[in-house]
């Protein structure tokens, strides 16, 4: 996809943000007027533990070039330990994606507290940059084929 004036590849990234930490942190980035690339479109969930790995596969299969899952730092989970379950699930998901030939940079699990607006912006920035250099995922031709 091409956005803006440049013709460089602009990756499409789906972001699952937990409402307590990551989403609030992303809000703070905006409130602080920190500028970052517009490539990650947020979806608000209560907890990163709500993110069914199927959603990630669904996103990649539907045309996303990457997926970001962001939750509270381990130990800070609003639901005590939801993010710990996400860690376990994420490990398994990574192995599966690896077998599919999806580069590990495309799907990231990150911790962003409600006060880390700057951190959220930098994560989005680095992820966008990394996936941009990887190029489009092209699930249909690369993975399904």
């Amino acid at each position: 996809m091409v956005i803006g004036l440049s013709t460089r590849f602009e990756p499409k990234i789906v972001g699952f943000l937990c409402r307590w930490c990551a989403y609030t942190g992303a809000d703070l980035a905006g409130t602080s007027r920190i500028k970052y690339p517009p490539n990650v479109t947020p979806i608000r969930v209560n907890c990163s533990g709500r993110v069914d790995p199927t959603f990630v596969l669904k996103a990649l299969a539907s045309g996303a070039d990457g997926v970001l899952i962001a939750g509270c730092h381990p130990g800070d989970c609003h639901y005590t330990s939801g993010n710990v379950k996400t860690i376990r699930r994420f490990k398994l998901l990574q192995r599966m994606l690896n077998q599919f030939g999806v580069e590990k940079e495309r799907v990231r699990l990150e911790w962003v507290s409600a006060s880390e607006g700057e951190r959220y912006a930098r994560i989005v920035e680095s992820m966008t940059k990394e996936i941009r250099s990887l190029g489009p995922l092209e699930w249909k031709t690369k993975v399904e084929a």
Partner: protein, 652 residues
């Protein structure tokens, strides 16, 4: 039935419209499936903005509403209420955040507009699958937990207790009073701190609605707004609070003296002690580390002399659980450790002291009975006050500690009042914002104090000439004169800054509070919700949120109390109905969900062979939903269909 969706794109004045082409986004929305109305509006949250939505619901028969404006944290409740007013279930409303997470993060109008379209598109596709839900209402427990018995916690406790509600005030030290109890005078009025504080402390101790749990801390805090359980550890005092009358016999007879923490080690206390005579509660504690009975198995003198038989060496640590509906965290601050600034020689030169040590020196009931003296007992002939120690310094803390300029002026005043010493103030900028503060600064300018603008580079005892012999030499650039000064003095007082408590991280974990970059607790909104936190029913007050002086801490204590009382008076709290539900027909009975639930809300029904969720215990994290291999669990308002619709819309 085909849904009729209304979409409203807010300009938020120019906050959104400056970078997002709102008209274009509205036009895009109108082309999305089932959208029958799409408008852009200057301030959608305003009365006419809300009226517009309500009219469209009534006149065009909208069945779903999307508002694209600020963060849902800001106005989700506003718009849910508006659609409910017009007769639509509030959960058939969806908010799209195109301000905090769109217009404010970009300077590029084209990119921001494209992003806004993606965000609005996702909300429109999702709202199609929103379902009408009822909010859960649970009773509000009127009891309140307050953690920290400094001036902020004391103020909050008294306000709440006076209204007839029960307060559990937990203080980790043997007495309440916090830092204020250790100060001599308060700026700028020079009120005696004890005279204004101790009556409040006594009120707390005697209040029928306050249960004071001193020498205690909270080890666990669970539940949700309206229904929290706090586990409190009560450390053993080895003195029975019920029996003790606070007569002080034990302290007088105790043969062992050790350095007093309350006096910053400048004075002594006994092994059985009260930090200071007006301590509340007046019950002493036995310091197990030093007490001769605990260390050597001999003595028991206090036990012999106690007229009430209140000494109990057998006391053990115990835990109690209290039920509360809300909590105020007022755990205060720690002082910056001056020894970290090696070039100031704190710990190396005996007459380099901290501002708190000075407070104890000048305090009428302190170790020197209020005399300002050097370590050798002589009165200083010259004193330097060094501002910003550990503050406004990228090596330590970037922020300004707010109170140091004013208390440094107070120190200068007290030295001038009590001695003939020459006083030098080394400051970077004089920050005297506050009622009567600038006037106090002006007053000090007339009190023959030498002010020198510039950060102190070094404090040394290496003399360069005879006038510096035996003195401490303060080396600092005077930035107004552009010269480097060397000022020989007898005493240096370091105006140390305020820091987050060293255990702030643990406390934050227990109460699930976020912290800002500087380590202090994070408020819900820096302007409009300064004592709220992201957790409903959990409030913060005083310097645990950031450096504050006494008036601001008191104001915050009262503000937190008002927030709590307003919650209690509602009698009920509404909970988001985002709980998980199990479709019994699809459940295979694998029990995977049961072990995952952090709240033990899922149990297994043997006869039917499937899992059952207790709605009242479910907090709506959705962990079980994501884990169910047969897709038998759904989370209300975060169903698989709703979330997949968002994913599909974004990826399309």
């Amino acid at each position: 039935m085909v849904e009729k969706i209304g979409v409203y794109i807010c300009h938020c004045g120019t906050n959104i419209a400056r970078t997002v082409d709102c008209k274009a986004v509205a036009g895009y929305a109108l082309g999305l499936p089932n959208v029958v109305v799409a408008r852009d509006y200057l301030y959608t949250c305003s009365d006419p903005g809300q009226e517009m939505i309500k009219n469209d619901i009534r006149e065009s028969g909208l069945t779903r509403v999307v508002v694209a404006s600020c963060s849902p944290l800001m106005h989700e409740t506003t718009f849910r209420r508006a659609v409910a007013d017009a007769g639509l279930n509030p959960f058939l409303f969806q908010m799209a955040n195109i301000r905090e997470q769109c217009s404010w993060i970009s300077e590029n109008r084209e990119l921001a507009t494209t992003r806004a379209k993606a965000i609005v598109g996702a909300a429109v596709m999702r709202v199609e699958f929103n379902e009408p839900l009822e909010v859960q209402k649970v009773p509000m427990n009127p009891n309140v937990l307050i953690v920290g018995g400094g001036i902020a916690g004391i103020e909050a406790a008294l306000q709440i207790a006076d209204s007839g509600k029960r307060v559990y005030l937990v203080e980790k030290e043997p007495t309440i009073g916090g830092y204020m109890a250790r100060f001599d005078k308060t700026f700028p009025t020079l009120d005696c701190a004890a005279c204004i504080l101790t009556p409040k402390m006594v009120s707390v101790g005697q209040h029928p609605n306050i249960e004071l749990l001193s020498y205690s801390d909270v080890t666990d805090f669970s539940g949700y707004v309206g229904n929290f359980t706090a586990r409190i550890r009560r450390r053993p005092r080895y003195v029975d609070e019920e029996k003790c009358t606070g007569c002080g016999q034990c302290e007088q007879k105790c043969p062992l003296s050790v350095l007093s923490e309350f006096d910053c080690g400048l004075g002594k206390r006994k092994a059985i002690y009260r930090p200071f005579p007006q301590a509340v509660p007046s019950t002493p504690v036995i310091d197990r580390e030093h007490c001769l009975f605990f260390t050597k198995g001999v003595c028991r003198v206090c036990e012999k002399f106690c007229p009430r038989g209140a000494i109990n060496f057998e006391q053990k640590e115990r835990f109690i659980d209290v039920q509360v509906g809300s909590a105020i965290i007022a755990t205060g601050f720690d002082l910056f450790d001056a020894s970290r600034v090696k070039e100031y020689g704190y710990g190396k030169f005996p007459n380099v002291i901290t501002s708190l040590e000075f407070e104890r020196l000048t305090h009428a009931s302190g170790p020197t009975v209020g005399k300002i003296v050097l370590k050798n007992g002589r009165t200083p002939e010259s004193v330097a006050v060094v501002h910003c120690v550990g503050s406004r310094d990228n090596n330590y803390n970037e922020y300004c500690s707010r109170v140091c300029c004013m208390y440094s002026l107070k120190i200068a005043h007290l030295v001038r009042e009590k001695t003939d010493a020459k006083v030098y103030e080394f400051y970077i900028d004089m920050r005297a914002a506050g009622k009567g503060y600038e006037e106090f600064y002006k007053r000090l300018l007339r009190e023959d104090v030498t002010f020198s603008r510039g950060r102190v580079a070094e404090i040394t005892d290496v003399a360069q000439n005879s006038s510096e012999n035996g003195k401490l030499i303060v080396v600092a650039e005077d930035t107004l004169l552009s010269i480097v000064k060397r000022i020989p003095v007898d005493m240096v007082i370091l105006s140390v800054g305020l820091e987050a408590r060293r255990d702030a991280l643990q406390v934050a974990h227990i109460f699930r509070i976020s912290r800002s970059k500087d380590g202090f607790f994070l408020e819900k909104h820096p302007k409009l919700a300064p004592v709220s936190t992201a957790g409903d029913g959990i409030f913060i007050a005083g310097s645990c949120q950031g450096p504050k002086d006494i008036p601001d801490s008191v104001a915050q204590g009262a503000a937190a109390a008002a927030n709590v009382l307003s919650l209690i008076d509602r009698k009920e709290v509404e909970l988001e109905p985002t709980i998980a539900l199990i479709d019994e027909d699809s459940c295979s009975g694998c029990k995977i969900c049961i072990g995952l639930c952090p709240y033990n809300a899922i149990s297994f029904d043997e006869p039917s062979g499937h899992a059952v969720i207790t709605g009242a215990l479910c907090k709506g994290c959705g962990v079980c939903v994501a884990a169910c291999p047969s897709g038998a669990i759904e989370q209300q308002n975060f169903t698989n269909r709703q979330l997949t619709a968002e994913v599909e819309a974004i990826c399309a």
